[in-house]
Assembly symmetry: C2
Homo-oligomer: 335 residues x 2
């Protein structure tokens, strides 16, 4: 079967993972032992007192930038940038507070730059953060005309008792899926490789990433002790669930609908590769001990489709997905 | 006189400053009032308690990246990255703790990537920080082969009593200069425009930025209440001194030696433009109330040349520089 992979789209995930492993070894210092361990490494958690810490994370939006550039639509890519960082912070139970942006461009073009910042500010408003600082770098020679890059840095507050470590995840617990808005900000290189270069496709891909902060903070405030894990589904697709706890697996029997743009990509890419690369309709997954009703209601009240999609199993690092459109079932391991 | 300016090198500082002003207006939110005001806006200062705060900042290394790429010498650019962030943190009196990197590249090339990270880790060791996280983004299509970008994000601890606001700067106080290692990480586009493209020049420009954290932390711990201002001399050159306090000026009568590479650039660029763009031999300036002897000794013991270079005056936002090599005197205003 001639099915393109993410690697063939120019992004070698294995190579990147091996680099990150070397990086971790190189950077290992005694000070790392003082950090608290948040679930999935979604954020570094730096204690500021006995019971309080600051969670910090950084992210970019990948080649979704090139889409904004191609369509000359710059007002939403900043929302993606904030989303990628803020949705990571909530996975360790942190409440996002402060955002900083790094914005690099060949030559500053006022209108595009203002639109990009407007998107970042919109994202910060959605996430309840303030844009407290940033760096704008004009770098003629590094970026081609019109090209730019964005990186985001986000801080959040978390207490010792509200830190989500993932260690409380156990077989039988409920897995909730919260709908994505579309492709979000991962897998764009592969998507662009297999999709036609039409305005319709490009606009579908550019839809900004959902920001899940407001309902998640509400849920954590109300029933934090019942929330055992939160996975932001980013690069690596549904394998992000494996980040939460190495001793469990997941049986997904009632997945959310797959957005049309991802269905279209799925016509050219094998199902397993799809689930290893894209969010497949689920931007966030929440593991609950006990009834899911309240959690689902809060997400729905905030305008997000959410439902019970399956449960935690005792099959370590195995993800079984049943009843997927047109595919009988899929099993993913953490590799 | 045909003297190239930074603007002619493709970097329009005025345009960038007007963009940053619009950005500040757009992003203004009530939450900003809760931040503490650190001197010069070198870092955002977010309170984590009544007497404690986290200072945060982000920066990049500008087109120094292109030099590393041209020389295929990747092991020091990470030091520059950490320096640009860590030296900003100490200007508000913060002790650097945590660093995160954003590393974007077209295609991940193992050796270069490892060298870049090694530099970041070296920089963190010098600054007493740990590399607690980061993002590595492979973006085929955005970056040309071999090109990459780096952004850094740094956190530090600061207490209410150790926060440097600049408000205590007053006429008659002593201005200390601490030597730079060379061009540091600002003004590279202009430097490249006027210098010959020889290996010798390029290597001089690539010398990594000094990291002043260790002596500054020692000084702040010992005589913090005497230190009224610290200016990291970055983009904008000596105009960075104006960031500290709007009501004073500076008379610099005994400047540090100008590094050879900056002298060479000075043959093609007018003196005023030089002082508005480059560090001119001074990577950091410290304003002390009282005797400078201890401060100078600590810098010298840490291996940095340091001396009294002048004093604070009552001429608001005016900088008089006397006895400069080959130039009788220069006066800079904050514009």
């Amino acid at each position: 079967m001639n099915s393109p992979t993410y690697a063939e789209a120019g992004v070698d995930v294995k190579k990147a993972e091996s680099f990150v492993e070397r990086l971790k070894r190189m950077s290992r210092r005694a000070g790392h032992d003082e950090l608290w361990k948040g679930a999935g490494g979604y954020a570094a958690v730096y204690p500021t007192g006995k019971d309080q810490a600051i969670a910090v994370t950084t992210d970019g939006v990948g080649t979704k930038l090139l889409l904004a550039n191609k369509l000359q639509r710059y007002d939403t890519i900043g929302i993606d940038l904030v989303a990628m960082c803020a949705n990571d912070l909530i996975c360790v139970g942190a409440k996002p507070t402060i955002f900083l942006d790094y914005f690099a461009i060949g030559v500053l073009e006022d209108n595009a730059a203002d639109q990009i910042i407007k998107g970042i500010v919109d994202g910060c408003d959605q996430a309840g953060m303030i844009l407290a600082g940033g760096e704008t770098a004009e770098m003629p020679g590094l970026y081609q005309p019109g090209h730019f890059d964005l990186a985001g840095f986000a801080l959040g507050n978390v207490s010792r008792s509200s830190l989500i470590t993932g260690s409380g995840i156990a077989p039988g617990q409920t897995v909730i899926g919260v709908a994505s808005s579309g492709i979000h900000s991962n897998g764009l290189s592969l998507a662009r490789k297999v999709l036609p270069d039409t305005k319709e496709c490009l606009e579908s891909l550019l839809v900004p990433t959902h920001i899940y902060v407001q309902p998640v903070v509400q849920i954590l405030n109300a029933i934090g002790s019942k929330i055992k894990g939160i996975a932001h589904i980013t690069g690596g697709g549904w394998r992000n669930l494996f980040r939460l706890n190495e001793t469990v697996g997941f049986a997904i029997t009632n997945p959310l609908p797959i957005p049309p743009i991802l269905q279209q990509i799925g016509k050219s890419v094998a199902a397993e590769e799809m689930y290893k690369t894209f969010n497949m309709g689920m931007g966030l997954s929440v593991i609950v001990n006990g009834t899911a009703d309240y959690v689902i209601k809060v997400f729905q009240d905030a305008g997000f489709q959410a439902q019970v999609i399956g449960e935690v199993t005792d099959e370590a690092e195995k993800l079984r997905i049943g009843k997927v459109d047109g595919v009988k079932s899929i099993t993913l391991g953490n590799s």
